[in-house]
Symmetry: D2
Subunit: 361 residues, 4 copies
């Protein structure tokens, strides 16, 4: 399903080359003023063509808000935003209909939907469908920001080139604010050139490259979340894996914790004035599924763009024979840059649900 | 919430030192013969005291099935299994009531529940609550096994000592069958001594150690799962993070994919007879959230046991002062061994939901 | 929330005088050919101005399908249909903003949404929001019809004037087919004149009148539905009360059964060839929440249109004083006629969920 | 499914003659003191043998609370209560296994579960399964009572004998308090003799009789509930139809509103001090799915007990022939009396969910 959430539900629709894409957001609090310029700014961070490393196709992703907003303020009724598609189905996707592209959902989607799925541009599996998610996240994060919760993400790595990580116990609002405005989001901006060179090299070699996005949620009050299956990790991961190409997620020290001793990994508590804090933040702001008040920090691993220009082996589903395929068109050699605002958006939608669940919204 | 699932719902209840723990499983297909000896065997894999590295407390985890089963066969009505607690509340947990243990949910639970949560033995946050999950998984995996789906997991690593990983394109039933019967589950059994020595060393040093569990789901038919938020990764992660101490999860190549080129990471398709397969399995059996028919492989990272015997800094919530705590009692220096059957169980409950969602059950 | 369903979810959005209204339908089976002319015909049955007793405002309810359909066939991805509003907000609703209309949701909506709800034309509470529900139902009933399940409803009563009821054990497809094409749906068409006269009389007296819609679902296979809270009655009632003005629902003999003896009310089983049937159908095709194979028959009671032209007492929320209100504009003196296709639509959406839940779709 | 609720979920399990029945309640607020004597008193109102008109079988329905409560106070963790069955399966239900009883779920359950359902005593369909619902309701109503919300129901009618109805605009706490303690709940106690005589007459004639329960929820704050599918009517009806034998529900004027003019049915607003009230309450405290602050009043219609002692026609599922059946054992000739506390309980569970959904709990 393409619906998610409990207290605040999003329902995303659309196919890459269909009539339009969009989202319905149901359960938003009423009376929330929305800054649409800021929403469009968030969407433009994700839009292609904003960054020179990204695909050069033009998308005019101007969402039209059909409902749920009056005088730029939420009414409490479901908010629907629609983005019309300008790229219409071209019919030149014939070969991928029967010859699935490696790393794509062509084959699995074909089995799941008995071949009736729309494959133009990836159909409903297209990365373009993250645009409505960014819209929803942009709405939610304004509501969260008003309650002191800030969300910022950055390119943690591209291939083996790493940005500096967050200082997990001290993430100032200035940093999350800066990051949530960036198109090429880095903590250490000196890494940009090296990263761009790697991406450009991949493009030249008809190849692509993966990476990691790290996201921080700062100002989360202690005591949000629930044990077991409604823990913060459960909720965030269940939405973040909805972003195409994500193959892993970790919170706080994450996989590194598996190599640690308890004496290293345990985060000792102390009083900072009247606030309980921890000296370190290997727990990523979450203990027993519930927020500790420390920054929630997580990382999502993105696989390299499966669309590469070099010839690849595949099958022909018509005659059950092996064959080869060459994927045409321009594709981002690295989705990680544009994924940064998507991860932030997913986090925002997750957090608004987590807070509503415990009457903190 | 401690409820999970859609087509087949589990609702887990209990506190470590309360009257009892258990699970209600609602939505099981009727007419499924259950082998209760096998269920108890699964539960005993998780039970403490089975392995010498684990805690020496005695738990008689004999579940009583109150409903949903007649003549050892599911009736289709909700199945409830109850495990009575023999360890009753002792009252000697006084100091952790106000002085939260680092790495535990004492502090976050106290904020979440305004101090009314039962903290004896960890209360509802206790690892003991994985027993009903293992029960539910044991029921589900018998139903899955009858449909050709096998689940097996192993200790991928403890600290920096690694087992061999699965060959992701070729996981024979003999291996999953063997693993699903092991107490100290390894692919390469020669690693057992080294791992045990590390754990023993941690115990001697009043410390603990983390690790990784790798799980394979073999025989999953292609075409199960759904795009976006009901993808297989979303569903599995949303239940696996319900296991205490899990801080990360990855599917297929996972985080390693973030360092790869597309040409490396893409798994090329080929026909093996009339079956579409991939030469490699970096996608972990999942593309676009939907199964490809290749083995689903994932890894869950466990942090080290937070209960360590050495003195730690913490706070006193009564007087808002910093203080120190020494945790008494015996605790597993490494939860990973006993976590193996829990991960398998979570996977089984996830898979039965994924299949039911697409009418494949 | 304006979202409903589990296996097949609908998410309805829009306000009467906002930018547009519509629905996202998620979870439809793929490969279902849709007859859009028939869908539009269903929508036109509900549209105002089709019947002379109904409001004379003009609505061009031509839905635009943005996604989920390719070559008039469902792709399996979420289907979104949008109907643009041509009536824009006029600003002349000033008095009802503070002086709630009796029988309307003005007051309760204002409290619920702190006055931020859009009240123009009733906002999200408007009967106009049943248009997307009719769209969703029209899609679902085509899928059901292909599986032999037919749905038809009629005006059971307006005020105290009654149509003939269904013969609950024998509802031929010809009848459901005819009814599902009617604008003024009656089993006994001779009652039309009398009903129209009553409605016209109410209009002349600046008043309105209630009524009852009776709906039959024929061809429902035995064994669908679940005990307790997922019974057919639960599911149908939980969507039918989403239709504005519905204040009661009953299945089979319904309230009349409360006055019966068991010997009267029990429906005896018999074999009709190899099919188990009942001689009577007081159970309305449902026993223990599960279908018996007999027609499912239910009735929904509609209150009279609250918008009447005569002066009424109300309050002024600004100064906490009692005041009077006169409601302007044209309104249906009886919503029951246009409610018939809406009830059929709700039933269709309910049934598709009931079938999917038991793998019968 | 036998699970219900969103913010506060109940999961009911058990079969009439199995090991035990019970309920898990997940999502309760922590820190709520529970009066278990009062809970047992509620359960004894529903228990058989308390009233001489009811079945004379003995049930010792003493629930054992396994979790979620410490020092008689909710911990916030799931609360599980188990009631052991003393009536074990006797094997003398042989004929109903193949010869379904008219009016029962024997036939539909058999189709639904392929004959694997437990039919002893009705299995999971048994009225006995309302005991855990009464338990859950008793917990919820204590929490509601502390917030000023009182729930009381009475026997509105048995057959054609009617109690006085509630004065829908003025239901004092004294009345709801009295009713919620009654075993034979009537507003006008002079009707008791006549009702008992009718029931006794039915018993003598080997027959049974239906009736109506009317329930009031008083003290409900204005602004709870949501439009469309999460309206109060939707939520209450979706749980009340989970009570066996309910075939209809109506709110406020209900079906009678269908015969009214708008000028009659509209409830005019006025200020009572600073509180908005209505002069009449045909809307049953609900407008647009949202509470108005007036009492919520609804009626549930119960069909007559299907178990009657006289011979009835049915089918033999083995040889596909028509046959006859005589139902043995003692059965209530009228379930309405014992249904009163069950309806109150269902209302309480519904209301706690409605309030939690809008952060009012």
């Amino acid at each position: 399903m393409s619906s998610w959430g409990n207290g605040v539900k999003i329902s995303i629709f659309g196919e890459s080359h269909g009539g339009g894409i969009g989202v319905v957001i149901d359960g938003l609090p009423s009376g929330e003023k929305l800054d649409f310029d800021e929403i469009y700014r968030q969407m433009s961070r994700r839009a292609p063509g904003k960054d020179k490393t990204a695909t050069q196709r033009l998308e005019k992703d101007i969402p039209e808000v059909l409902s749920g907003v009056l005088n730029d303020t939420t009414t409490g009724a479901p908010l629907c935003a629609v983005i019309k598609n300008t790229n219409t189905r071209s019919g030149d996707y014939g070969n991928i209909l029967f010859c699935p592209r490696p790393g794509h959902a062509d084959y699995t989607g074909s089995v799941r939907y008995n071949g009736f799925n729309d494959i133009s541009g990836g159909g409903h599996f297209s990365g373009r469908l993250t645009a409505p998610l960014v819209f929803a996240g942009a709405v939610c994060r304004q509501i969260l920001s008003r309650r002191g919760i800030k969300i910022g993400a950055h390119i943690f790595s591209i291939g083996n080139i790493k940005d500096s990580g967050f200082d997990p116990v001290n993430i100032p609002n200035e940093l999350t604010d800066r990051l949530s405005g960036e198109v090429f989001g880095l903590i250490d901006k000196t890494k940009e050139t090296e990263m761009r060179e790697l991406i450009e090299q991949c493009r030249m070699e008809c190849d692509s490259i993966g990476g990691i996005v790290e996201c921080a949620i700062v100002g989360m009050p202690a005591g949000a979340g629930s044990p077991m299956f409604d823990g913060i990790e459960n909720v965030i991961s269940s939405i973040v894996f909805g972003i195409p190409a994500v193959k892993g997620i970790e919170f706080g020290a994450g996989f590194a914790a598996s190599g640690m001793r308890g004496s290293q990994n345990n985060d000792e508590f102390y009083y900072d004035g009247d606030t309980v804090r921890t000296r370190t933040n290997n727990h990523g702001g979450i203990l027993g599924g519930i927020s500790s008040g420390m920054p929630v920090v997580f990382r999502a691993a993105f696989k390299p763009t499966p669309s590469i220009s070099s010839e690849q082996n595949t099958v022909d589903l018509r005659n059950h024979e092996n064959t080869k395929i060459i994927i045409k068109g321009r594709h981002d050699p690295c989705v990680v840059i544009r994924a940064v605002p998507v991860v932030e958006a997913a986090a925002a939608v997750a957090v608004i649900n987590i807070l509503k669940d415990v009457n903190m919204l």
